[in-house]
């Protein structure tokens, strides 16, 4: 993966058709995310933030437009190929954590790794390290129901890091947490960013958005303000 532009969207459209009614959610979005960037997507509810994040995360396909991953157009890739790309290069953090309820913290962290090529031993080693890094070394065997919301989100962040991704996508990662816990989680994400991963985060909270280097504002499926001159070099 050469070049500093990791992801480029070129005039991306997303239209949902439901019961014969078209909903144009994204209307010609062009956007670039660079390596090591911390980007916040902001906008009112229903403006298309999550949809944009899903498209950036290769979870959804645009209706029109191109998606370049390190310069390669992956728009036409088959579903399983996209799964592999997500698994290898992306990490995901969700508002409601989405941990597997019957699996321990450690097993949850391992999950994306187990769908990849790496050996279980080295994955387990890294999972332990990551749990220690998010301050949960002593909670590895706990089930999600035995953890607080903040702790669950830390497990989810460790899970997002297990395959050493290039980008982490986070959709309102602090949406269910109190402000003190939110600040801890945001600090954690900011630290991860300084260690080289890009972060793309949806938020409508100004305090949270303040952790990002760049803010993109969306309204009615269009980018109002792409947050400045573009990705910084290096």
């Amino acid at each position: 993966m050469a070049g500093s532009l990791l992801i480029e969207l070129d005039r991306v459209e997303k239209t949902y058709v439901q019961a014969g009614v078209d909903t144009r959610v994204l209307r010609g979005v062009s956007l670039a995310v660079g390596r090591g960037e911390f980007v916040a997507l902001q906008g009112p509810s229903g403006s298309g933030k999550s949809t944009l994040l899903h498209i950036l995360g290769l979870l959804e396909r645009p209706t029109a437009g191109r998606y370049l991953l390190s310069g390669e157009d992956v728009s036409g890739f088959a579903d399983d190929r996209l799964s592999e790309l997500r698994n290898r290069h992306f990490g995901f953090v969700f508002q409601s954590f989405y941990l597997i309820p019957y699996a321990s913290a450690l097993e949850n962290v391992l999950l994306p790794g187990l769908y990849g090529p790496e050996s279980r031993r080295s994955l387990e080693h890294r999972a332990q390290e990551l749990l220690a890094r998010v301050g949960l070394a002593d909670r590895a065997s706990f089930k999600p129901s035995q953890l607080s919301g903040g702790q669950q989100q830390r497990v989810a962040i460790a899970r997002a890091l297990i395959n050493q991704p290039a980008v982490i996508f986070a959709d309102e990662p602090t949406g269910q947490l109190d402000s003190a816990t939110s600040a801890e989680i945001m600090q954690l994400l900011a630290d991860i960013c300084t260690q080289g991963a890009s972060i793309v985060m949806v938020t409508h909270d100004e305090e949270t958005a303040a952790f990002a280097q760049r803010r993109i504002r969306i309204l009615d499926g269009r980018i109002l303000d792409n947050g400045g001159p573009g990705p910084a070099e290096g």
Binding site: H54, G57, L59, E60, D79, D80, S83, E84, R86, N87, R88, F92, F94, Q95, S96, Y98, I100, P101, Y102, A103, E107, L111, P112, L114, Y115, G116, P117, R120, R159, N163
Partner: protein, 412 residues
């Protein structure tokens, strides 16, 4: 492909975690499948048992012999005279049918009590016969001797005792030389028939006493001229069809039957007995097969329903797995593996249940059950088939979930 092979054990691990996590679902599927497999186990083992039994019966009957019965099948059914065979018939058969070297007449009297000292035994049958009885049934004597021609000619009060009767009346002592009362008739035991262990019809073949046919006819006031059956043994069993034809022509001639009249006798061969047993077994297979098929179908539907519900409940988990990089096949494989683990557990439990049930039934003498690798293989194959057939729809449904839709749904 290599990637898939490496992932397979991990997918199995995910399946095992889920199977252990959703215990209620697991228990219901295991139980439902176990009932079907139990029924299947009973049917397979009992068919095996019936086959073995048929072979034993035919073995005892012998491929080198026929059983000649008085009356043809139709006249017997409408209650016409069935005592058509005579001493002359028996003698002529032995003398003039090529290859026939034994022709032993038989007649039975039922429900007679045998008594020795203070011990009683209710005999289902007392058989009246002649010398050659043990030989003609391939039934060796474990002690003593067979009847002689003199025994028969003089209506001697001598008898051959079945093994079970000997056990009951004499315990470990030898019955040979002892006097047993058949009703009021004292009979000296001269031989003991070896243990056959075959049951069928009115109880075990070892529950009998045989005496000379002449003695039976005199003492129990039966017709002296006619008897019920003749067993004929032949050399060269490979020509059995010809033997049977010769026998039929001779008897029609001896009984002066006009060409347009039906036989007044029936010739039973080992082949016919096999056919008859196969027919009986066919009924058993059809009945048990329907039962087992129904039970397995029910197990399959329970599985399909519980798995559909489970996939719906686990939409978030499945959407998450896909979002985090699980390939479509990995989801399908996980759900199918969950199903297979449960149906296999159900198969093991079902086999245990089926064997238990079978033991109970064989103790009642209804069926004969024996475990075999065949039962195991059929049970395991059916379990996998149930998982594949009934788990496929829920598995494909899960694999086809759109991760974004799945995750959005659980947010609402």
């Amino acid at each position: 492909m290599r990637r898939a092979l490496r992932l397979l054990p991990r997918v199995a691990g995910f399946a095992l975690d889920a199977v252990l996590a959703y215990r209620l679902r697991s228990a219901f599927v295991i139980l439902a499948v176990a009932l079907g497999i139990a029924a299947l186990t009973v049917i397979v083992t009992s068919i095996d048992g019936a086959n073995r039994k048929a072979l034993e019966i035919v073995d005892m009957f012998g491929h080198d012999a026929v059983f000649l019965l008085g009356g043809d099948i139709e006249s017997r059914a409408v209650g016409k005279r069935t005592l058509t065979l005579t001493w002359d018939d028996a003698r002529t058969i032995r003398q003039s049918i090529p290859g026939a070297y034994l022709a032993v007449p038989m007649r039975a009297k039922s429900n007679i009590t045998a008594r020795f000292g203070s011990r009683n035994f209710d005999l289902p049958v007392v058989v009246g016969t002649t010398e050659g009885y043990a030989q003609v049934w391939n039934w060796p004597l474990s002690e003593g001797r067979d009847f002689t021609a003199e025994d028969v000619a003089h209506g001697a009060k001598v008898g051959l005792i079945g093994d079970t009767v000997a056990q009951e009346l004499f315990g470990d002592r030898s019955p040979v030389g002892q006097i047993v009362f058949l009703g009021s008739l004292p009979v000296q035991i001269v031989g003991r028939l070896s243990y056959r262990g075959l049951s069928g019809g009115g109880g075990s073949v070892d529950d009998r006493i045989a005496i000379p046919l002449t003695t039976l006819a005199q003492r129990f006031n039966l017709d002296r001229k006619y008897f019920r059956a003749i067993r004929v043994k032949f050399h060269n069993p490979e020509f059995m069809d010809a033997h049977v034809e010769n026998l039929r022509s001779l008897l029609r001639h001896l009984h002066r039957i006009a060409p347009d009249q039906p036989d007044d006798f029936t010739i039973l061969t080992a082949d016919q007995i096999l056919q008859f047993l196969a027919m009986l077994r066919g009924g058993l297979v059809a009945f048990l097969g329907l039962t087992a098929g129904g039970a397995i179908l029910v197990g399959g539907f329970v599985l399909a329903n519980l798995f559909s519900i489970s996939v719906a409940e686990r939409t978030t988990e499945i959407g998450l797995r896909k979002a985090l990089g699980a390939a479509t096949w990995a989801i399908t494989a996980q759900i199918l593996a969950e199903a297979a683990m449960l149906t296999l557990a159900g198969a093991l439990l079902g086999m245990a249940l089926g064997m238990g049930l079978g033991q109970a039934l064989s103790r009642l003498g209804i069926l004969e059950i024996q475990f075999s690798m065949k039962v195991f293989a059929i049970a395991v194959a059916s379990a996998l088939a149930i998982a594949a057939i009934f788990g496929l729809r829920p598995a494909r449904h899960a694999a086809g979930l759109d991760p974004v839709q799945a995750l959005r749904r659980s947010e609402g």
